[in-house]
């Protein structure tokens, strides 16, 4: 009797798996043509272009870097263009880095990254969790406002920063806007480093 019971459960489980697969296929088909608040899978393409200007106002070094002095402001702008078809949410992370020259390595724990400043557009870009979120969904073929147009190296950069190397890393992440929260700050599913495609 026990064996018969187990056989019956196995049969029902197999039937359930088969039925679930069938139902999932059926739901996907319906999702293409039916809008529902949950479970909508959008079709279309995501492609994005990071539009960044070259640095202006500094002196180019032989290694390709730009030579700057404390108190100097250089021109550099960053924006994003939606070259795909899906409306997108955009967020950007800006990360400055400073590596001191060998002669000043002992002062590494004194590095102050706030000495590198940007004129962020606070009207169109919303700061949350370290990311600047473009306030509007970006439709295909359109571009965001520039996140910043200048980088300023503070006059308070002391002698420990002589000959230092500085990097400004700008990373943009986009995610479909459709059915993804009421606004960009509520969106989820952002690509993590090195990713694109389907998250």
């Amino acid at each position: 009797m026990k064996t018969a019971r187990l056989k019956l459960i196995a049969i029902i489980a197999a039937f359930a798996i088969t039925l679930a697969s069938f139902i999932h296929t059926t739901v996907s088909y319906f999702v293409d043509s039916v809008v529902s608040p949950n479970g909508h899978i959008a079709t279309g393409s995501t492609d994005v272009e990071l539009v960044s200007s070259s640095v202006s106002g500094g002196t180019q070094m032989p290694d390709g870097s730009i030579c700057i002095m404390p108190g100097q402001t250089v021109g550099k702008s960053v924006s994003t263009k939606n070259t795909g078809t899906l409306p997108l949410y955009v967020r950007v992370k800006v990360t400055p880095e400073i590596i001191l020259a060998d002669a000043y390595q002992a002062h590494t724990n004194e590095i102050d990254l706030s000495l590198i400043a940007f004129n962020f557009d606070a009207e169109n870009w919303l700061l949350q969790d370290g990311y600047y979120h473009y306030a509007y969904a970006l439709t295909g073929g359109t571009a965001t406002n520039e996140l910043f147009t200048q980088i300023t190296f503070s006059k308070d950069m002391g002698n420990i920063y002589k000959d230092s190397k500085m990097r400004v890393i700008v990373r943009i992440e986009v995610v479909q806007a459709s059915n993804n929260g009421e606004n960009v700050l509520q969106a989820t599913g952002w690509a993590t480093a090195g990713e694109g495609g389907i998250a």
């Binding site: 359930a16 952002w190 389907i198 998250a199």
Partner: protein
Amino acid sequence: MKLLKWSQWKTAALAFVLLLSIMLTGGTLAYFTDSREDISVFTAGNVYITLTEAEVQADAVGNLVEDPSKDRIEGAELGAEETIKDYGKIYPGQTIYKDPTITNTGDNGAWIAAKVVVSDGRGDIHKLMGYYGVDFIDIEVLLHGGLLDEYIHVGAWNGIQNVCHNDNYAMVQVADRANGVYEFYFFMLKATQKGDEIVLFDTMSIVPEWDNAQMCELVDLKIKVQAFAVQTFGFESCFDAMKGAFATHFEKCVANP
């Protein structure tokens, strides 16, 4: 075949619903995403100078002349232990080669200034080289060559009176006769580039006519030279640069009426 009990049906139904939930849930949270990265690289410039003087050796008559066989003496960084050169006993008519030279050894343009502090030891050098009726001394009684040999005129400069200046440099004196300290501030009016050199003076000479009493005024005389450099970027002039970056060292000069 026996019919399943109600409890067994419940178990099977639960398993079915669970499986269905897993299948549906796994298929609905997919988003299209993309990401891009841009990196800009900067290199901070630098400002470096050296302050050096030649080593000297005695010639046949006892003057101290340049000794080219030895390396130049390099001054220490501001705040570090000072480099002291003792010239020993000096006498009337003697010349001593002394050429404080500032060199821009950095990669970037720099404003350069210097402060030469002449201080009494046990004597009063104002008696030897002081201007009548004022506390200032005429440093060119003692020091010659380099910048000091350039033609200059005396007048107001940046709101400071009695400044010796030309197109190349300006020299401001701050005299504290009571304490026997005379400070000479040299401002180079043109920005220097990598490799540029400035020789403040190159000879110290003792007036031959000074007698014993006058020579006593020179006992323990000290001449201290300091050099300063500030990046050119952000500063319109050497004066502004020194006031901005070395305010403490130049405060007496700025306040000099």
